[in-house]
Amino acid sequence: MPGLIHYLTVSALLFFIGMAGFIARKNIFIMFLSVELMLNAINLSFIAFSRHLNQLDGHIFVFFVIAIAASEAAISLALVILLYKNRQTLNVDDFNEMKG
């Protein structure tokens, strides 16, 4: 029987895959997707804990996190449109006008 540890491990794996995507990729879009991946990993943890603790609060949290993820997605998409319109690029490395 898979127990809490297994779920948490999967969750951690997904989290770090998301993190890796975030820092390894130059494509803004894929960075957004990586954040979504991380949030999902966290959700999995919440639900696993919820099952482990036998209380539903975790589910509520996941519910909230999905809402937060949705609004983040909205903003991020708006930003992508804005950036692409202004700069015609999706390469994160191109955004380095300000530094120091």
Binding site: M38, F61, L82
Partner: protein, 505 residues
């Protein structure tokens, strides 16, 4: 009637949201040539908000009189009863008010739309209120997100300005990453404790040791919040976002946002996690030390005033973190009031600086290099004096507020007689010595260097700017001469509150 009373603690928050929506609606319904009214209404609303906040605070006695069951309902997940919250509410409202006022000037100059801007400030304020008052980590996280989202958008509000885009983008992306880390920390904490209620966490850790998973949760939460306050090494977004954001928003981030997150940090480490002090104190000390020194080193080599102020705000974060590291269970500890006092002075002085800069930077914020401010004092004596005053306050020259802010903070930190904190305090003082260099450089540039030609075509100073400079300046001086104890309540307001109470009851 009684049931209505239940609503009272939420009143400021509800109104903030309502006012935000009202601005949105008015944006639609008020014709373009009358949009100036939006500003007046927004200011009026902000003033009303502060009044309501005070009134709500005053009626706390009634809530306390209610039967326990109802009280629980009234206070679930949310606490707005103590002076701590009142202080932050008023401080945040004040910061928002100032931001609004200078934004009005700024938006007009830069020819930017008002409606969404004002409503986003209100929403950000609402988020901060949640942040300050939340009793539940999830609520808190939502508040944090509301605040952050609003700020991201405000940073990128100058859509045509590539810097503004870039700033918003960087801030947002890193913010999402940090939010994810923070949320992971919250999740782990939930798994260990079984609840995200702060009192539950507190009582859990009073009886249980912190396990490895709980530790990881704590670390991730600290890192997430460290990002929001701009602690090194999570500070990297700060200078870029500060530089790219519209000037009033830079001020808003440096003051309100920072204060709100510190409120949260003080609350988290002071209440639910205070029992784990031995575990987190070293981390905070490390962050604090790193933050101070890095901020200082980088502030020195800046030529752009916004970036310099960004790093300066990082340095102040370091000092504040030092204060946070002294949070303890000692009953007579006044570290909270010292922290609050420091935040208060810092916010007021910083606001003053940004008021002046908003005015001086000129159309399109063309004037951003420190050297551009050469000889400002000759033609703008008042603004120059105010800027010098704030710089001296940052350095900690008495009798300005900044001095006593440092004084109380350091004295409380030292009082614990903890060698680690003593060492940190010494390190902090050495850092403030380093910081003299760049604060002084601005004053020297303003006063002693030959006059820059741009100041000759002097633009008249709006009344609002003069008023705000005067007020912030006077507060900075006043707090130096008559520093007050902020524990529990703002004692400076005590007589006023007593009087109001007499009227209300």
């Amino acid at each position: 009637m009684d049931k209505l009373m239940l609503f009272i603690p939420y009143l400021p928050l509800a109104l903030a949201i309502l006012f935000g929506i009202s601005q949105l609606l008015m944006q639609v319904f008020i014709p373009a040539q009358n949009r100036r009214w939006l500003t007046y209404i927004a200011l009026l609303e902000m003033s009303a908000l502060s009044l309501v906040t005070i009134l709500a605070y005053l009626s706390r006695a009634q809530i306390k009189d209610m039967p326990p069951g109802m009280q629980n309902v009234a206070l679930a997940n949310y606490q707005f009863l103590d002076g701590f919250a009142l202080f932050f509410y008023l401080l945040l409202i004040a910061a928002s008010f100032v931001t609004l006022l200078i934004s009005a000037h700024y938006l007009e100059r830069e020819n930017m739309p008002r409606g969404e801007y004002y409503s986003l400030i209100f929403f950000a304020l609402a988020g901060m209120m949640v942040l300050v008052s939340a009793q539940h980590l999830m609520t808190l996280f939502i508040g944090l997100e509301i605040m952050s989202m609003s700020t991201y958008i405000l940073v990128g509000y100058q859509r045509e300005n590539p810097r503004s885009n870039e700033a918003a983008f960087k801030y947002f992306m890193l913010g999402s990453l940090a939010s994810a880390l923070l949320l992971y920390g919250i999740a782990l904490t939930y798994g260990v404790v079984g609840s995200l209620d702060m009192s539950a966490i507190q009582s859990f850790y009073q009886t249980h040791p912190i396990g490895p998973l709980g530790s990881m949760g704590l670390i991730l939460i600290l890192a997430g919040l460290g990002f929001k306050v701009g602690a090194v090494p999570f500070h990297t977004w700060t200078p870029d976002a500060y530089q790219g954001a519209p000037m009033p928003i830079t001020g808003f981030m440096a003051t309100a946002v920072k204060a709100a997150v510190f409120a949260l940090l003080i609350k988290l480490l002071g209440e639910p996690f205070v029992i784990l002090r031995a575990y987190w104190v070293e981390l905070i000390v490390l962050l604090s030390a790193l933050t101070m020194i890095t901020g200082n080193l980088l502030a020195l080599v800046q030529t752009n005033i916004k970036r310099m102020l960004a790093y300066s705000s990082i340095v102040h974060t370091g000092y504040l973190l030092m204060g946070v590291s002294a949070l303890s269970i000692q009953p007579d500890s006044q570290i909270r009031s010292a922290l609050l006092y420091y935040l208060f002075i810092y916010v007021i002085s910083t606001l003053g600086v940004f008021v002046a800069l908003t005015h001086l930077s000129g159309r399109g914020e063309k004037i951003q290099e420190i050297e551009d401010f050469s000889g400002l004092a000759t033609d703008y004596p008042f603004t120059a004096a105010a800027l010098a005053l704030f710089m001296f306050s940052f350095i900690g020259v008495p009798p300005l507020g900044g001095f006593f802010a440092k004084y109380f903070l350091f004295s409380e930190v030292l009082r614990l007689q903890d060698p680690l904190l003593q060492g940190l305090a010494i390190f902090a003082i050495l850092n403030s010595i380093l910081s003299i260099a760049y604060y002084l450089r601005l004053v020297v540039t303003i006063y002693f260097k030959p006059v820059n030609a741009i100041w000759k075509q002097a633009e008249s100073r709006p009344v609002s700017i003069s008023f705000l400079l005067l007020v912030t300046g006077l507060i900075t001086i006043w707090t130096g001469f008559a520093p007050f104890n902020l524990l529990g309540i703002i004692p400076g307001l005590t007589p006023l509150i007593n009087w109001l109470q007499a009227i209300v009851v």
